[in-house]
């Protein structure tokens, strides 16, 4: 290797410093917010004058907070399930299909990643009002699904792309019907892609706020919306506790996926 750390001499300490700054910058909110959530002060004060679990107690006892946590969980699970159910056949078509306009369709499925979220939000809001869906669980699910679907399709599609179709052929010549080959050979082989897609879908829905604000009503809010609304009226450290919950869930899921990857090897 031309550029190894040893050969760079003292210049490498500059690299170390830049890396350290980048890590610190990325970690700051993840570390700072949980610290503040144990803050004994009534204000988001730093450094905290003392420690308490009061804000978590409030988070898990106040009906509005609990309700919003529960809504977030419900929406995220429904989004995950629907994203996988829709992404699986879509990925098969996009990877296996041979038809005119396949590339265009591929790009189209990725469009929600490019179109500004606020535009999707406005469009969905218009629809939701017209059909009287605003503030329903269904509205949350279909709006988050728009954002989650491209990620699910891409991760399932890429694992299907690397799956050698000869496995399916040999399953069929062994006597397996198409359905048996799919269930016993193809799906288990692309499971990492399905799991990754599901995690993406869950996490996207779990911390999504823009679409949720448009779809929310005072009686039906997700956790990020509740944080946002609370933030505008008072700066209680309960917000830090709720945010820590969001961060904790995301870190937990990423940890699980890393664990699954490791045990597979």
């Amino acid at each position: 290797m031309l550029l190894t750390l040893q050969r760079m001499g003292p210049g490498r300490y500059v690299l170390y410093a830049i890396t350290a700054i980048a890590v610190f910058y990325l970690l700051l909110p993840i570390v700072f917010i949980p610290i503040l959530s144990f803050n004994a002060s009534r204000w988001l004060e730093f450094p905290p004058p003392g420690w308490t679990l009061r804000w978590y107690e409030q988070l898990f006892t106040e009906e509005q907070w609990i309700g919003s946590i529960w809504n977030s969980v419900k929406v995220a699970f429904l989004v995950t399930a629907s994203a996988i159910v829709l992404a699986l056949p879509a990925a098969f078509v996009l990877v296996r299909g041979k038809f005119l306009g396949k590339t265009a369709l591929n790009a189209f499925f990725a469009s929600p990643m490019i179109v500004p979220v606020v535009i999707i939000a406005v469009a969905l809001y218009g629809f939701a009002l017209q059909w009287g869906m605003a503030g329903t669980l269904f509205a949350f699910v279909i709006s988050h699904l728009i954002l989650a679907l491209p990620f699910a399709i891409i991760s399932i599609g890429s694992s299907l792309q690397t799956f050698d179709i000869a496995y399916e052929k040999s399953a069929m010549i062994c006597g397996a019907s198409r359905v048996q080959a799919l269930l016993h050979v193809t799906l288990p082989s692309i499971r990492p892609g399905i799991i990754a897609g599901a995690l993406f879908a869950f996490l996207i829905s779990w911390d999504e706020v823009v679409l949720a604000i448009f779809m929310a009503t005072p009686s039906l809010q997700t956790l990020p919306v509740k944080i946002w609304v609370t933030l505008r009226t008072d700066l209680s450290p309960v917000i830090a506790a709720a945010s820590s919950l969001l961060i904790g869930m995301s870190v937990l899921l990423l940890g699980i996926s890393a664990l699954i990857k490791r045990t597979r090897k």
Binding site: D164, S170, M172, I173, G175, H184, P188, S189
Partner: protein
């Protein structure tokens, strides 16, 4: 061992034989009739007909793109013929889906299911046929013993070597006792030593189980080693079918002569025909004789073929040799231990290779640039017409 693993019904296939009538024991298991596969203007397989006898190991030999794999894929059901019929036991199966053909197949690429153990892989064909679990376990043990990997049942395919993986793939293809086993260059990814080892294994299993096998390869040595008969493919057509010896000694055309073994080709034209022999005038002016196997008119340009080991080298002054003789200079001289190979350039600039084995009496080696006579008997000559 033979009695417990033989195909005499001890391992029933586990599939309903469906509409198959009382199984006729005709000599031919598979008959391919006028089979074609066109991709647009390209004829991948062009009007191929052949019969595979019951219990036979037939190889499809040919260069890549000659249509052998496409033909195999149509037999397996992965490709649909443009025209023609594929009959197994006198029934046309060309529209039957692969899973209902009761054919086994081993692929070139390793296709063991990576998320299953060896035993699960081998038991897979029985699992999809809904055979009871204890029975699957018993038959898996038996077939793993057949390929001598009985202690590997709990391993993952990734923990096996390439050769072991292909043996497991073979076991998976054999466990349901298919009426026909297809092998598509199964040893292509293995090194030479391992390849020869598994070739022996395949021969042993073929004899032990009496299973009918079609084996696709581009490796002529592999074809010679394994086959009862060889079908040589060229440009989507069958160039010749026959036992190895037949193809080597009696090639039907220049392609077979060149593809199977080493050959010399000299150009010339027919001078006269008499007494079942042609007189052929070669490019360098010399005249040789050849058996008249084909009816050819005088002046017909021909390609004259003979094998390097059928010719001998002599001093130009010696006259005791065979009927046919050309003179030239040695341009290449390769010592191979048990033999030496010489390349001789004739007056017309054509090259002739002579393989001289070092038997008990032959010990002489020739030197470079020596003027030399190449002599060979007339009955070892094959002539093929060249289109004018």
């Amino acid at each position: 061992m033979n009695s417990s693993t033989g195909s005499g019904g001890t391992l029933d296939a586990g599939v309903p034989q469906g509409s198959q009538p009382a199984r006729s024991m005709a000599a031919n298991l598979l008959s391919i009739r006028n089979l074609s596969k066109h991709y647009g203007d390209f004829r991948a397989v062009d009007n191929v007909s052949l019969d595979v006898r019951r219990g036979e190991l037939m190889t499809f030999l040919g260069p890549s793109g000659s249509g052998k794999t496409t033909t195999l894929n149509m037999v397996a059901g992965f490709d649909t013929p443009t025209a023609g019929e594929i009959l197994i036991d006198n029934q046309d199966i060309s529209r039957v889906i692969p899973s209902r053909r009761n054919i086994g197949m081993v692929f070139q690429r390793y296709t063991l299911f990576p998320h299953m153990t060896v035993a699960e892989n081998v038991g897979f064909p029985l699992m999809v046929r809904r055979v009871a679990k204890p029975q699957i376990a018993e038959r898996v043990t038996r077939v793993l013993k057949l390929i001598r990997l009985e202690s590997f049942g709990d391993r993952r395919p990734s923990q096996l070597s390439g050769g072991q993986q292909q043996r497991v793939a073979l076991a998976r293809a054999l466990i349901y006792e298919p009426r026909l086993l297809l092998m598509d260059e199964p040893l292509g990814a293995l090194d030479k030593r391992l390849r020869e080892e598994i070739q022996l294994e395949i021969r042993r299993i073929h004899h032990q189980l009496d299973v009918t096998i079609i084996y696709v390869t581009h490796d002529q040595e592999e074809a010679l080693r394994l086959s009862d008969r060889i079908a040589v493919f060229d440009n989507g057509r069958i160039a010749q079918i026959g036992a190895a010896r037949e193809l080597y000694d009696q090639p039907a055309n220049a392609f077979v002569g060149a593809f199977l073994g080493n050959s010399n080709f000299l150009t010339g034209k027919i001078a006269t025909a008499n007494g079942g022999r042609y007189q052929v005038t070669l490019k360098d002016g010399s005249s040789i004789e050849a058996p008249a196997r084909l009816a050819l008119a005088p002046e017909q340009p021909v390609s004259v073929m003979f094998r390097p080991e059928k010719a001998i080298l002599q001093s130009v002054s010696e006259t005791s040799g065979f009927t046919n003789r050309v003179v030239g200079r040695i341009t290449e001289n390769v010592f191979l231990g048990d033999s030496a190979t010489y390349e001789v350039r004739t007056a017309s600039g054509e090259l002739v290779t002579v393989k001289q084995p070092f038997g008990p009496s032959e010990t002489k080696t020739r030197t470079m640039d020596e003027e030399i006579a190449v002599s060979w008997p007339h009955d070892c000559v094959h002539i093929f017409p060249i289109d004018r």
